[in-house]
Symmetry: C2
Subunit: 342 residues, 2 copies
DNA sequence: CTGAAAGCGCTTACAG
DNA sequence: CTGAAAGCGCTTACAG
């Protein structure tokens, strides 16, 4: 066996370390992988050799032997979303903790199909599993492709076929109820909602909870309205336009607006200001997500906090822990964060 | 040679395809890798077999044989930065184009050392190269560690040892000059700057250009001031506090504020409003970066556009093209974007 | 234009 | 507790 001299550029292999420690590669492997079946004396000798050689496992070799890559993939829909920034932050943090690495694949929802992006892109990275978020988590063709490849995946906030995989999400009802109570208690009586995407389960739940809770409070049905924004980028513009439309079309102008997410709410703020109205005196505005921008705008946005990063963190945990598909589903609470707009 | 039946769960290998096409694995490899030295007839036969088996290269095996992973790594400092969102967007887009994949490593600047995050984290991903941004691109210990490992890297907007690696950046002067001209032309005469980090080359250049251009325009030196924010999170708060301090301490109140970046500028907007002043009538405010939030706030922020995503895109291109370290450095222009705050 | 052999650096399954 | 052998699925370097 020819071994590269220790100060050569080539990184040390198990064989190098084994030769130096006077044992077999397999025993070094045991130490590296924290297998307990190694005598204290041998272990010590190997650990010294490991240090001296600066040994690092070669992931490619390990992956080839074990067919695991320790890579977790995710699609990155567009930069303009604070929701995804949070998802990635939580996932990256968990990856770090569980010894995985996060691979991000750009994906332009609307311009191309996720299946193509998977087959021509992410699949090549050979991840151990994927984390899927809306709207890709509800793309049946993608799920079919993943199932066909035997690719594992965990879905966050899915709307369809909830039982098809491990799924995590938040209990949106709770936060929306708190919001309604707060608006009502502060004297608001005319309400409008800027809706989310129609096929989005969470959006439906937020709408239903909003109007139902108001009805239970005895709110006059003629003082309730909903507007569906055009989903153009930037989302904030969509919120602004929807708000303008709202005030133009309604007889009974709202004194409180609840938007499907923070970006729409921020757009609503701009729209309300354009109409010469003040926030929150004339109109209260609330968003959903409690994303970073909520604290950035003025007045700071009142919104419903959703544990986005935490959901992503747990998704990685499930993957790392090889938890059973199903049975490990997680639903986390949401809560109202009162700031300056409502 | 025992071959798994075609409809087994195990993915096809070069050997399977070779057997089906009646050629050697090496020839299949040639077709897969687009080597031209294959007869048309053979190629066709192999391509059919490739399709029939649904063959996909095994990255782990390829990596082991070539010692390339087609992975590009980057540190992800914190979610609150739109600068990084843009970096990742540009990098992900380029990775997709060049057949690479982007690996993100969480890194909490301030709470830990990058070297540790590299050695305990990113190094394990065995990337072919790293993309480094401020402030990690100026961490000499990290660069030493990377050089020691023979890990390639490209730096975006470095401040120190510029010649140490391939470096990309923007010409900040241009945009700042345009801004000053604009402010002066619209009648502003008292200026304040909310400074960036002290050891940041780009920050220094923005400051110097700002004050120098104003001096050349004949601006009264007593009407020029600078304030250094405390770098607390969220950055917007730091901008707000700095602005409040500015107005409290200065005899000559500014009628124009230029902030090192958009987030500080947005904080300045909040500060100015708290003082009962209007934007842009009483005080003009401008940022730097032209990040997504610039369009989100009200009024939309006047700012200097920097091609962040483009820099990251080119960084990946350099890595993929194996361009020479040095000689391939890129400097892109910046320009003023006038919106509602100045 | 095509292929047989060796090797990349690990782990798995077996022995002892 | 320890090790020799085979194999993971590619590519490189040589032959022909």
């Amino acid at each position: 066996m020819t071994l590269t001299p220790p100060n050569s550029k080539k990184p040390a292999t198990l064989d190098h370390v084994a030769a130096l420690a006077g044992v077999s590669a397999k025993t070094v492997s045991r130490v590296v992988n924290r297998d307990s079946n190694v005598s204290a004396k041998t272990r010590e000798r190997i650990e010294r050799a490991l240090r001296e050689t600066g040994y690092r496992v070669n992931q490619a070799a390990r992956s080839l032997a074990t067919s695991r890559s320790y890579l977790i993939g995710a699609f990155m829909p567009h930069l303009s979303s604070f929701y995804f920034a949070e998802i990635f932050r939580g996932a990256a943090k968990a990856c770090r903790q569980y010894g995985y690495h996060l691979v991000l694949e750009e994906f332009d929802h609307g311009a191309e199909s996720v299946v193509d992006r998977y087959e021509q892109g992410l699949r090549g990275a050979h991840c151990d599993a994927l984390i899927l978020t809306p709207p890709t988590c509800d793309d049946e063709k993608l799920l079919d492709a993943l199932d066909r490849d035997g690719m594992r995946y965990v879905r966050i906030a899915p709307s369809k076929q909830i039982d098809r995989s491990t799924a995590l999400g938040a209990d949106d009802r709770q936060g929306v109820e708190e919001l309604v109570q707060h608006l009502w208690a502060t004297g608001r009586r005319s309400f409008a909602m800027i809706a989310g995407p129609e096929d989005h389960l969470a959006a439906t739940i937020r709408e239903r909870t909003f109007f139902q809770t108001l009805a239970e409070l005895g709110c006059d049905a003629t003082r309730l309205s909903i507007v569906r924004p055009e989903w153009n980028e930037p989302i904030a513009d969509a919120g602004r336009e929807a708000t303008l439309r709202l005030f133009r079309d309604l007889q009974q102008k709202p004194d409180a607006i609840f938007a499907f997410n923070d970006e729409l709410a921020i757009g609503a703020m701009a729209g309300v200001r354009e109409l010469g109205l003040s926030i929150p005196d004339d109109v209260a505005i609330a968003g959903f997500d409690d994303s970073y921008v909520a604290q950035l705008v003025w007045p700071p946005l009142t919104t419903i906090h959703q544990p986005i990063a935490d959901l992503a963190f747990r998704a990685v945990g499930i993957i790392a822990g090889s938890a059973e598909p199903r049975g490990s589903d997680v639903w986390l609470p949401t809560n109202l964060v009162v700031r300056g707009t409502a």
